[in-house]
Assembly symmetry: C2
């Protein structure tokens, strides 16, 4: 059997298993059964920071990671930080549609949120980074984003005593702790703290019947019955697996530009053309515009597009509103973040470079 | 008498009065006299937020102002906020030499710090804004900076319920509180909280003999005896008055580009050519590169340039180091700032515009 055919069958299987699960659960119809079905498909965001593989999260590492996250001097220009595109005050994204980077260049895709990103199966819209540590090294070096090099970053960090001390504290057992890899580890540790528990939907999943209002419950029911939860499930209500954008009907070229073939660029497998990681929907109400193209400017529009292109269903106005109401229940409590004091430059710190 | 001649005489008078004061004080030589002389020339940063003319500082106004300060959607592109150039994690300035704005354009002058700016006689390097409220409206509209219009800003703010509520709370007695002017007032109120008390030099001014070490005291003595404090005095160790850059000797064209005639652009008085507001030196150690051109990358270099061009004095290496040590004692305690959660866009919020 051809690899692509196996993958197609695998997708059909994934969708079927999930749909059957949903149908069984929703058949009962009662409120208790809605909660039971939801508990099967989803999982609440924990209130404590999750452990990360091969990277113990310590206070010192998180502080360093936060400082790096907000430091625009990790970019060649000195004006772009991680927070520029993953704005922690704005749901972890920028104003869209796609990000602006070095030289006023426009990036090809919408910035994904860093909030709860630790729970995704992999990072980026196409999953090309296995984890947040691998992700963090990408935009720093991308010429269309921060346009730096590992050497430049290391020269910058080593030039400031306060950074060197922070690395020593964050990686106490290492003889030479200031490395590009450790920068990424520290950023990953900080990003692991960017979780947003206690959304109304989390409270509901934990048994509080009254955490959702009637419209939100109706929306949740539709979300499962119509098939949205076939792809958007698990702890992040998405972010767990890859699916084609346009299962039933191809979205128009604005929403799905033909040049961006999604996960195909990672796997080179034909069936991965226009395949993307299902968007994680936690805090989605904070993050318009939507899709990898950033071209759907309201949640209602995004819900309409998804139902038509992915499920072949034309929802009524009421149904769309109900689902939007449910999606609004996914907004959790954002962590309090004290803005960091950045280490002070020395004579050895590389100067900003605006060259394109 | 010609206006310019009057101004020149006025400058000579200002410098003489201050210099005489310094000479008298320093003649005594003893440590107590150094402190007395310092108390005459300088003033400690208060530990409480100062009152502002016609703008009562309230908690609600400060919260609104902080949110606006960090909100990049006040710019046309949606990626430049006040904090981009006046980075509160980096002494209230950007990486320099001059700021990068809309369309990757380079601004003409170094970003001045917002910390303790409330104590300056006027705002901008040329004093063209009487206060922080007037200042705040400038960069938002400047095509080389945030490139927005008051209309765009008002459409943005009115499109988000959370902003409208914040304005209602900040300006409770106004029927239509969402105005461009009130935005500036709120930013001014927030900036009034950006004061940095308790620097070693403040403790010294308050009578703690041991707050400065011997080298810092030697530097302070030189700072007054050599004449630096003729221009850099008062609460902000500068920022109180205007002086020519190049009193004795014209700095080279890199430091003093001939196209930027400083305060002349404001007053159109010939004697104001190449006149600038004396840089306020609070936290100066955090803010390289220096001067309005941002072309002196170390504090020691800046001290050397100043002594030669302004005072006609060639300082020894030790003298320069002593003065730098004193300037390091001007670094105060930066306020803790919780990163704000920005209101969420609605369908009516203007979309980002990158057009140049």
């Amino acid at each position: 059997m051809k690899k692509s055919t196996i993958r197609e069958l695998s997708l059909v299987y994934k969708l079927c298993v999930l749909s059957v699960g949903v149908l069984v659960s929703s058949a009962a119809g009662a409120t208790d059964d809605l909660m039971s079905a939801a508990k099967e498909a989803f999982e609440p965001i924990p209130s404590v920071v999750p452990a990360i593989k091969d990277n113990t999260v310590t206070h010192e590492k998180v502080e360093l990671g936060k400082t790096l996250f907000f430091d625009p001097r990790l970019s060649a220009s000195g004006i772009i930080s991680c927070n520029t595109c993953h704005n922690l005050g704005a749901g972890g994204v920028d104003a869209g549609p796609t990000s602006v980077g070095h030289g006023w260049q426009r990036g090809p895709r919408r910035a994904p949120t860093v909030y709860n990103a630790v729970f995704n199966v992999a990072q980026f819209w196409d999953g090309r980074a296995a984890d947040l540590k691998a992700q963090a090294t990408g935009p720093i070096q991308a010429s269309v984003e921060m346009n730096a090099t590992p050497d430049r970053v290391l020269n910058t960090l080593n030039s400031m005593t306060d950074y060197v001390v922070m690395f020593q504290k964050a990686f106490p057992n290492e003889a030479r702790p200031v490395t590009f890899d450790n920068s990424a580890k520290a950023i990953e540790a900080f990003e692991a703290t960017l979780i947003t528990p206690a959304a109304p939907f989390d409270q509901y999943l934990k048994g509080d019947e009254h955490a959702l209002d009637d419209q939100q419950k109706a929306g949740l029911k539709l979300f499962m019955e119509k098939g949205c939860s076939s792809c958007h499930n698990g702890i992040n209500v998405g972010g767990q697996d890859y699916f084609p954008f346009g299962v039933v009907e191809r979205p128009d070229g604005t929403l799905l530009p033909s040049a961006d073939k999604g996960r195909f660029a990672v796997t080179k497998v034909a069936s991965d053309e226009y395949v993307f990681r299902a968007a994680p929907l936690r805090n989605v109400a904070l993050r318009a515009p939507y899709f990898h193209s950033g071209q759907a400017w309201s949640l209602k529009q995004a819900v309409g597009v998804m139902s038509e292109t992915q499920l072949g269903a034309k929802l009524s106005d009421k149904e769309e509103n109900d689902i939007v109401a449910f999606l609004n229940s996914l907004t959790g409590q954002l962590p309090k973040i004290e803005y960091p004091r950045l280490p002070t430059r020395s004579d050895a710190t590389p100067r900003p470079s605006l060259d394109k």
